[in-house]
Chain length 215, copies 2
């Protein structure tokens, strides 16, 4: 698969780009916001494209055109300013979904947030505005008609991945290394049993391929 | 009709509550956030209910239960903090839509923002995050299955209403007194030709009833 990673310079995005670049069956295009990021990737032999997620849908459409799949992992969690939460996590995501549809790319993987589908779980959360943005981006994806998968990781860690995870529709809160989130996305990309589904994802006892098979 | 006004203490909300209260064919319930607001309304013989839009859908459902129509006019424009934009203008609106559905209230009028349906028109707007929130609240309403009407007023003025407006799917930017926005909502409530539709609204040459008839 030729996979476009939106948010390629993010913490999960970087792992994902490296894993896809190293993967025998995939090619990756890293979508980044800054010229310096693009150059650094190209110096490493990785295809990169410069797009501002606050720009137009048609710019995004050109950037994803020709790919087989799009992964959206832009946004930096619940602690950016709420203006950016609306413009990137919600509107940027929805414009990416529109761009994928316009470019006839059916496969779309969204990096969401733990329990984003379950409003009750974040009623009193200190990052509730962020959860609202993720929730509505996910809702839009679910109604898009695309072959989507929504990955909802628990607390994100920088530790090296363990390769062992637990994936399920509603899990008790846990945490997970970003490297394992990226590896789970790579594994899910070509797994049709994960289409039209979302799942929470934390560190667990299953290998990533077993966890994906059980979705 | 028994009409619940969500955001009854807002600038359009106050006009709307007064007009509905004075109207022979309507009864109004004013939904407000503060005990003092509730008491003031009740002292004037207006039914009021205390609900926090940041609360649960079930609270909202209880508050709207038994009504024939819901009007959402909460939120104070593009200049509140963006956290509140997400929590009130987007999430509060969507929870209100859910509450109306749960309570089997089919009629829902949304006070939106000028050209909120037309992303290109606010690509460079200084209040773009607000427009994003309004846009997605409207999108959710359009997919709700309710008999909705989305009213998208131009620049809001405090002048007394002129009773003359222009309503249309895509208008050149103009302005309109809040009193006329409220009067247009009252007129639209029982006009089935405005169901499943949205329109821009500015001051114009039509009487409000003519403008509504032409929708």
């Amino acid at each position: 698969m030729n996979v476009v990673v939106i948010g390629a310079n993010g913490q999960i995005g970087k792992h994902l780009v490296n894993q896809l670049h190293a993967h025998e069956q995939h090619e990756v295009t890293a979508m980044v916001r800054k010229e310096g990021q693009k150059k650094e990737l190209e110096d490493r032999g990785i295809q990169a494209v410069l797009v501002d997620l606050e720009g137009s849908i048609s710019e995004l459409e050109s950037a994803v055109s020709g790919a087989d799949a799009v992964v959206f992992t832009a946004g930096s969690g619940g602690h950016t300013g709420p203006d950016k939460t609306l413009l990137i996590d919600l509107d940027g995501a929805v414009k990416s979904i529109e761009a994928a549809k316009n470019a006839n790319i059916n496969r779309f993987v969204m990096v969401s947030a733990f329990q984003a589908h379950n409003r009750d779980s974040w009623a009193d959360s200190p990052i509730k505005p962020y959860m609202v943005a993720k929730h509505f981006a996910d809702e839009t994806l679910m109604q898009s008609g695309l072959d989507y998968t929504i990955v909802r990781p628990g607390g994100l860690q920088n530790e090296p991945g363990s390769g062992k995870v637990l994936a399920g529709e509603n899990l008790e809160r846990g945490s997970i290394p970003r490297e394992d989130v990226a590896a789970t996305i790579v594994e899910a990309l070509e797994a049709p049993n994960t289409y039209q589904k979302g799942f929470d994802l934390i560190t667990g006892v299953d290998t990533i391929s077993d966890a994906i098979e059980k979705i």
